[in-house]
């Protein structure tokens, strides 16, 4: 992957006091996003508002679409027109986006989607937090595919991980999600935006060979096909149908096998390169708390309590949620008494922990239906239970 420096035009270098939503926008602009299409939805609207204010001044375009179906369609179109593109939404909008997230997967189009999660289902809790869309991020569109999802726990990370999301999205030509939540989205903290020359970006994998030899979906050595944009004389075709290397539809089981395996393998086989975890005091831990996003900050308090109580405890914060750190959890399952998994839902990522632990160690879930964060005592109780 070719690395380039960020365009200083989009980088608001300095120390700021920003909320997570605004930081998502600044991360996008720093990453070179010059096309934003979206539809207002609480609690993510501030990201769109900031884009609408900032992007015209850096040579980009903001368009408020008629709905979220259109927003993703416009993003994919814009990427094939040569731009980097992102949008932001929350639960109900995320549901509508699923249709064309599938198209982006099939067309191997790099787009970034931030989801400032709120409590669901349906309209649920527009103004209050949740982490209930984690499985939807992975499975929400029909068919088999893989995506990448990151989970920031602070406004600073909303900035950092949006850049990271663009880099991953361009590297693997895959929709990449920044799965934050209402708490982080509306939390104001110090956000340091570095100078442009310190921000490293991945350039799109442009094709440069002879025009008549271009095959839109021929995997390169690293599995990722080269990209072109419309208007450059390639006269290429792409479709949402199962297709061959030429991008032509081929409706049979053999082509489906190659096409779908490619979409799944390009992420799964690169999982080690993609996954980022923050681990603390894992080595002698008897209990490991696995959390992500806002819940990892609440967990800190419970972990302090546990240490005071003499429990040998370690923590893993999932910066990357999808692909899931399967290998690492498998490895640790052999060493610990139990995992504790607090999350603001009725049991989503805990299912993955359970699957990977494969009976070697139990995964104790600390559920919360949304609307507020956990009481640290509830997490502490689960830790005590796990340590028994």
């Amino acid at each position: 992957m070719k690395k380039i420096k960020a365009d200083p035009k989009g980088v608001l270098t300095g120390a700021h006091y920003l909320d997570g939503d605004h930081s998502l926008a600044e991360g996008g602009l720093a990453a070179g996003c010059r096309f934003f299409a979206g539809y207002p939805i609480t609690p993510s609207t501030e990201t769109a508002e900031r884009f609408s204010e900032r992007i015209p001044k850096v040579g980009g375009i903001f368009i408020q679409m008629e709905d979220e179906l259109a927003s993703i369609a416009a993003l994919i179109g814009a990427v094939w027109g040569g731009k980097k593109a992102m949008t932001v939404t929350s639960g109900p909008g995320f549901s509508l986006m699923m249709e064309n997230i599938g198209l982006a997967c099939m067309m191997e189009t790099p787009i970034v989607i931030a989801n400032v999660q709120r409590g669901g289902p349906s309209t649920g809790l527009p103004t209050l937090t949740g982490q209930q869309d984690m499985m939807q991020a992975k499975w929400g569109s029909h068919g088999d595919y893989e995506i990448i999802a990151l989970s920031p726990d602070s406004p600073q990370e909303c900035f950092d991980l949006t850049i990271e999301a663009f880099n991953l999205s361009e590297t693997y030509r895959v929709p990449t999600f920044v799965m934050t939540d209402e708490c982080v989205g509306h939390m104001h903290e110090k956000v340091v935006i570095p100078p442009a020359e310190e921000i490293e970006l991945v350039e799109r994998k442009w094709y440069t060979g002879p025009k008549d030899k271009y095959l839109p979906y021929k995997p390169d050595k690293d599995m990722i096909p080269f990209m072109v944009k419309a208007g450059d004389g390639y006269r290429f075709h792409t479709t949402g149908l199962t297709r061959d290397e030429r991008g032509y539809p081929v409706i049979n089981a053999e082509c489906q096998d190659v096409c779908v395996h490619h979409l799944v393998d390009k992420i799964n086989k690169n999982a080690d390169k993609i996954i980022k975890l923050e681990e603390q005091e894992i080595d002698n831990a008897e209990v490991i708390v696995i959390s992500y996003g806002i819940t990892s900050r609440v967990t800190t308090r419970a972990v302090e309590q546990a240490r005071k109580a003499g429990i040998k405890i370690g923590t893993i914060r999932l910066i990357t949620v999808w692909p899931f750190p399967e290998k690492r959890i498998k490895e640790l399952a052999k060493k610990v008494k139990a995992f504790v998994v607090p999350e603001i839902n009725c049991g989503q990522v805990v299912l993955e922990v359970e699957r990977c632990a494969a009976g070697q160690a139990p995964a104790i879930h600390v559920p919360h239906c949304g609307g507020w964060v956990h009481d640290p005592d509830d997490i502490f109780k689960a830790i005590k239970e796990a340590a028994k």
């Binding site: 094939w80 249709e99 208007g231 004389g233 006269r235 479709t239």
Partner: protein
């Protein structure tokens, strides 16, 4: 004589087709191919750089057009061709972007996108092939099926009102609106040529025969019978009031060019407005952006 040298084996619009994908999937008597021919002729006659023309289709019989035309071509999801085209056009304003899709795609599932792109006066051309039913899935009733016509999901006849597409497009803000039938091939070509020369949201409806489903189910005969119907019942009325263009079952078909006006496009409005408000801070979009 070798097969490829025989005149009848050569397609006159071959240079604009992906010949490695021919034969196409359309039924004998279908009108979509003739609209593609008109489109190709319009492209030949235009002086456009064909590398800068992109075509976007949705899903359905007409949705397959993008797959056969040798341009940068995108076969997208059902109903979303217009917002996809919106993103493509805005990202790369130098492109001429054409949406080529069916009535179900454009006016049914994608109806909301149609009116909003027209409202914004997005600089794209929409060619909407109207065959009065959802043909790819087996002839179901559509938003364009005339009242009383029979369809596989209206087995007792359709009792819903149907859309008049030119009326809808004009009301929503389109700056070029025409309707023709598959019989009016030269007129279709001319309309597409004209629309290529306009800036703004162009909407061209072409009524075409669906022999396999709509015609068979309604016992209307074959493709020739439908062309005869178009011949007998169509009436050219340029500039007709679009409120008068309703289509009744086997009734009169008013065709022609109804709207042809100039209005600043989305990008014109955006650039003018932001330059006024932001002054020097604003770099005109679409200039030095590609």
């Amino acid at each position: 004589m070798k097969k490829e040298d025989r005149l009848e084996e050569k397609n006159p619009i071959e240079s604009l087709l992906r010949m490695d994908r021919i034969p196409h999937i359309w039924c004998p008597g279908c009108g979509i191919g003739t609209v593609v021919t008109s489109f190709a002729e319009a492209l030949h006659k235009s002086e456009l750089d064909l590398d800068k023309v992109a075509i976007v289709s949705g899903i359905g019989c007409t949705g397959r057009v993008a797959g056969y035309v040798k341009l940068d071509s995108f076969h997208t999801t059902h109903g979303r061709a217009i917002p996809f085209a919106t993103g493509l056009k805005l990202a790369h304003p130098e492109l001429k972007v054409v949406v080529f899709s069916g009535d179900g795609d454009i006016a049914g599932i994608g109806g909301n996108h149609l009116i909003h792109a027209a409202r914004r006066n997005m600089d794209i051309m929409v060619i909407c092939v109207n065959n009065f039913n959802y043909a790819m899935t087996g002839g179901q009733v559509a938003a364009t099926t005339p009242k009383d016509a029979n369809a596989s999901t209206a087995p007792y006849g359709n009792f819903e009102y149907s859309f008049s597409l030119p009326y809808l497009a004009e009301a929503a803000g389109a700056t070029y609106v025409a309707r023709w039938t598959a019989l009016h091939l030269r007129r279709v070509t001319k309309s597409i040529q004209e629309a290529f020369n306009r800036r703004g949201f162009s909407f061209i409806e072409v009524i075409t025969p669906c022999v396999t489903l709509y015609a068979r189910r309604n016992r209307l005969g074959d493709g020739l019978n439908l062309l005869k119907y178009y011949y007998e019942k169509s009436e050219i009325q340029h500039g007709a009031d679009t409120r008068t263009l309703d289509i009744s079952y086997q009734g009169k078909l008013i065709v022609g060019k109804f709207v042809d006006k100039e209005k600043p496009t989305f990008l014109d409005c955006m650039n003018e407005h932001l330059a006024k408000v932001l002054g020097e801070k604003y770099q005109l979009y679409g200039e030095n952006n590609d």
